[in-house]
Symmetry: C2
Subunit: 330 residues, 2 copies
Amino acid sequence: MPNCLTSTVPFGDQNRFPIEMLESNNISYLVNPYNKKLDEDQLIELLSDGVEVLVAGTEPISRRVMEASPKLKHISRVGIGLDSVDLLAARDLGIKVSYTPDAPAPAVAELTIGLMLCLLRGVHLSNSELHKGQWQRHFGRRIAEVTIGIIGLGRIGTRVLRRLSSFGTPRLLVNDVLPNLQLNREFKLEWSSKDVIYREADVISLHLPLTSRTKALIGSKELAMMKSDALLINTSRGGIIQEEALLNSLKSGHLNGAAIDVFEQEPYSGPLTQVDRCLLTAHMGSMSLDCRTRMEIEATEEAVRHIMNKPLLSEVPDEEYQVQLLHLKE
Amino acid sequence: MPNCLTSTVPFGDQNRFPIEMLESNNISYLVNPYNKKLDEDQLIELLSDGVEVLVAGTEPISRRVMEASPKLKHISRVGIGLDSVDLLAARDLGIKVSYTPDAPAPAVAELTIGLMLCLLRGVHLSNSELHKGQWQRHFGRRIAEVTIGIIGLGRIGTRVLRRLSSFGTPRLLVNDVLPNLQLNREFKLEWSSKDVIYREADVISLHLPLTSRTKALIGSKELAMMKSDALLINTSRGGIIQEEALLNSLKSGHLNGAAIDVFEQEPYSGPLTQVDRCLLTAHMGSMSLDCRTRMEIEATEEAVRHIMNKPLLSEVPDEEYQVQLLHLKE
């Protein structure tokens, strides 16, 4: 009977340290045997053997899952997103939830800049053309010469800003539910409504959590507002952009390109794969060795603390519960 | 009878201003009708009509070309590289040579960072996998976590350093024929021999001119010295890396990847196109709209100055002639 299930994939793959932590603390554990993102039924099945702590990925940890798993006492998320966890159900059922909010941010921000430079210079297009034997020199634009719109200036959006700073001084349009005006000391920002960002930015990058308020935020109306040669980047959560609307927009010739790392359904194999100028990556934002390892270690530390009856250090703050409560009421 | 031939491709394509400059100064001109890089015979043919000024790309402007074109008095290179121009022949024949050394640097440096981030995170691999319907999450590394080796710290290499600075503090190994120790005030650098860079760097980026000394600098011996998971980037000039050696190295499983923007023969359609982890772009280093336009305008300005009997502002300095002279003697 395992005390701990690690459902996130990969786990302990490049660095075995988190597995050693469980072993050296004599914690019986089960690593997700499917080796891919679980659905509700698979999760219930794996938890049914009396698992007390779940070291979780982004699989759906719904009220149904929790009610079917009466021994479950702690969900330790490897990462920052809580869209997959029904926090209110967890509270009702006395299940603690912790997460690792800081660990993934540097890796996500760095991938975002990489995708931005790729899109701006047509690297993905030239690479696939050359591998097909075609030589075409693409014109591109430099970061300093464009208007960049960032929606969401939390841990990741702020780090994107910081990395942009060595590329010159683009016009920066930013939006957040609660503007952090301290950032104005460090950057020249134009706090803007989302509509202004859609209309005026050459590059739009999303750094938002997935909630009932951000779900389907970017649909056909918002896409139509964007410049015909705009570039759109999503390294936050699938579902914030309506994929079908994006597909139709790209197919109609609108937008110069998009870079999509996160999808409504993962693994993704949908129709965006048919659009060359849509740069696609497999939810790799946090997948740098150092950040992934840090996430796994921090989440496993919390699991060990729970089992050892020590206080958790990174419980999900009350605001996150309030967000889910608020959206339930809407 | 055109006074001016613009052989570089593209020219006045995204911004017609350089063409307007010629027209508004009543200079008769011919734009390269082949719309691709010329060979010696095509160049001789197009110059034969009495062209006085050549606004040149990277086509071979050899002694034979110059001797066959007695009216030619000024070569105005769009760009910085002079490997395509026989400077000593030009001096012998009384042909002035000017160039635009600063204009391309920001665009080349920025593409280099984009390619580096792509390689470090496997963006090119994930993109082509997803477009084939395959989902695989690649582990990557962040800039701050690796050792970066930069060979050549001139206008471009220095700008690469500057852009890296917002990504944290990687170990920086650098090499240049003449170390600019002023840079130590701004960056934490380890001035290193090339061999140390080959052996110790996780990412190696080349920012060198092509001369008889740098030609085939990176061959099978140098590649073998590199770490088995090293990443190699060349946005400088084809020919500095021996393509066949690189191909054999990659095919044998050595190196985690390479990003190659410049080739021995351009347009390129050689066997590196068969290696997925070789990220290929079509000599696009300088191809940002702003830098390309600046290059074309600056080179055209020099052409106009020559024809108007005004002094040139950006003649190639004597050092460049000395380099070619030195190599001739070796």
